[in-house]
Amino acid sequence: MSAPAQPARVLVAGFEDGVASFLARQLRGVTVETAPDAAAARAQLSGGAWSLLLLDHEIPGGPGGVLDGAPALPPIFLCLPRGGGALDDGTLQARGVTRTFSHPIDRQALVREAAAVLGAEPVADTSADGGGAAPADALGEAVRKAWERFRGPVTARVDAIENAAIAVLEGRLTEEERRHAEREAHKLAGSVGTFGFAQGSRVAREVETLLQGSAPLGQAEALRLTDAAVALRRELARPPSPLTEMPRAAGGDTRPSRAQVRATPLLLVVDDDAELAERISMEASARAMRTRLARNVADARVAVADERPAAVLLNLSFEDGARHGLELLAELSAHSPRIPVVVLTGSGAFADRVEVARLGGVGFLQKPIAPQTAVDAVTGVLHLGQQRRSCVLAVDDDPVILDAVQRLLDPAGVEVHVLDNPERFWESLEEVCPDAVLLDIDMPRVSGIELCRVMRNDARWSATPVIFLTARTEAETVQRVFSAGADDYVAKPFVGPELVTRVTNRLERVQLHRALADSDPLTGVANRRRSDELMGQLMHLAVRNRQPFALALLDLDHFKLVNDRYGHGMGDEVLRRVARLLERGFRAEDVVARWGGEEFVVGMYGMDKEDAVRRLEAVLEQLRAEPFDLPGAEPLRVTFSAGIAQFPVDGDDLPALYRVADATLYQAKQAGRDRVIPAGWTADRPDRVTQLDVVVVEDDPALARLLLHALETRGYSSRWIADGREAAEALTGSRPELRARLVLLDVDLPGMDGHAVLRRLARDRVLERTRVIVLTVRAHEAEVVQALEEGAFDHVSKPFSIPILLQRIRRTMMA
């Protein structure tokens, strides 16, 4: 970059100091000065040449005091109050405002825009120029280095949370242990975010809140602690996010990645009706959403600043809720990316609906309402939000215009592909597959109107929105544009908000249509049509990259009985739960679809049959572990059967794979349902022996889950079997299904107890290759002696701490 002859000068008028010093740090070779009020700003502006004025609308003395009658002004960035929009675009332009922001100001966007106007480079982009690294890079590097040293001791704090989880499970959590775990969680919450683990801080804070006070902790809390401990270990094992990507407390772009959204989206419920809010919260947690309640609008603002919710359910019918609630709605819709808001109100008046829609509400529900319906609306909205980033193809022979389009649309979350040579239009169209096209009318050789006609004549592109960029707005041109098949036009020179609004409006419409056409309305996962399309793409990828591809067909067991006995409402809930579990159990790049009825299909790229079996078994395990509550009856247990086929060994095109998977599914049903089997499996001779490090035989699912997580995070392959007889069968026989280096065996098992399992393993000579550690309830000497005589290698008595158990496991394996 060539240094400007004169350093660019920026005047920051009316802001707190932070903004000016941030700009100064982030823009190289730029002088930043500040003015606290209108009079000072005016005096400074008249004293020399300025390159940019950043003006706070709330400046003491008012923006008029700075701008009215001022001589030549530089480009102006105006920061409007929270919610913005007080001035219309015409007024802004007339005052020389080139860009507006709203409080809280998005500093990253500000730096980008300012850099563009000043021809300066943001510091973060110049990290590669060796020599004198900018402070941001140097600090980032130093913090990363520090993390390398502290990762060990910081991660060790998670032990306290794990130990507390076990103690809760076993009903022996002491006050001292609880406070210790709370303190460790507190420390994690306060520290790991600083190193680039914002999510880690949030999880730790949840743990801290859970442990606070003295409310008794039960099974549910133990599970939450377990999951939190696992999430923390996983998070801290990852490389930290670079500092520049850290979510900022105010205003920054804290867009969660798609993976995070899928993990556990946060629903913010703003309502003073505690009972309804509580029921909504329960319903939401059944659909794998976390909820946070805010009693009023002020609490809601705090909550949003704390963690960006995936969606907001806003009740407008409480006292004073209407006015403040609408303000909140406008604020949330102005967020970038916008936070979808579903509005609940006591009135269904048309005027209210219009007002809500105008302020950006994406859903409107009328009270009284079942919590289930409210949460349905929210999940619908979330599925829309999970669509991929929209993309636009912009065609103009003027690179300045293309550049402006890109800069304006990028912050709005739109990916822009630009093309300055209209003769390459057709190729670009095919390559980019845009969701909308922006066309200049006047281009050399080929006009935009002609391009638009060409698109409209091709079935594939006849429905894609086309928006014209035109300097000519006389009636005749406008009429030509529309008769060529355009959807809209924007006059050049365009102002940012207009272009952004027109484009995003079109894109949202496209997404809505697509979501409706592509997804199963009941569960929100892909429908059959869409899944065929996606599976086709994954297969192509698999062929090209010589990767395996696995296809699973699964069918709920005895589903008809569920519908018949408990009604279709229950049936629907079961289907939704299964869809959520599948979505959570698979990666974003896998395909999960419902094929109608109780049949689902999952496509897994890069996975072979064995991987696929493991993944689906984990989902099945979860489904078994979480029965559905029924009022006044035994909880309903639901299972499924699945068959898996692999490309290319079981078939080399989709129809062939479907056939094989379907036949295998039938086999699974025949073999007794409630199981996942790969193609080629035969009942009495498992296809292959699975070799594992550790098999955990334990009937308490929560403890088992904790053990498995602890083992897996330390690199041991492991499997959980809840039942003694099942374990004995899997591990014994002439061709056992499982071989393990070590078995952790609970003595106290229903059906076949630990001693019987151990005797069976000894009899079948399994103990020659597998060592057994027995988990005894209390250190009853007689029981321990008996186990050791039966062939156990070692014993650990409950309650135990995970680190000690792991030590014993390591020792046993090495011995």
């Binding site: 707190e16 402070p135 600090l139 502290f150 507190h186 306060g190 600083t194 804070r205």
Partner: protein, 125 residues
């Protein structure tokens, strides 16, 4: 303008990052202290321009240290900023009784810490 800041935090990781952050971003001189006791001694010895004080520390916690600083005429005039991961209702009442210049939330963003300290103290860097 060069400033001298005393950081009192018992957690090594946070103390180090805060120190790096203030040194590298703002160019301030930083004196680290591992606990309240050491903090009191170093404050009296160096008379820094401000003190960053962690709330949750064993033996003598942040608020207790702040009270002792106020009682000592050598350190009574030094502005104190508390660093805390969570403001509990009970803490809030304790903070109100102290005349601290500000309360900053943990985790902090290393890029922003100097800024936050400056604005809490009304410094114009």
């Amino acid at each position: 303008m060069s400033r001298r800041i005393l950081i009192v935090d018992d957690e090594d990781d946070i103390r180090e990052v805060a120190q790096m952050s203030l040194e590298m971003v703002a160019g301030w001189e930083v004196i680290p202290a591992r606990n309240g006791e050491e903090g009191l001694r170093l404050a009296a010895e160096h008379v820094p321009d401000a003190i960053l004080l962690d709330v949750m520390m064993p033996v003598m916690d942040g608020p207790a240290t702040a009270l002792r600083l106020q009682d000592d005429p050598r350190t009574a005039g030094i502005p104190v900023i508390l660093l805390t991961a969570k403001v509990q209702p009970a803490d809030r009442r304790r903070f109100e009784g102290l005349s601290v210049a500000g309360v900053l939330a943990k985790p902090f963003d290393p890029m922003e810490l100097a800024n936050q300290v400056s604005s809490a103290l009304g410094w114009r860097e």
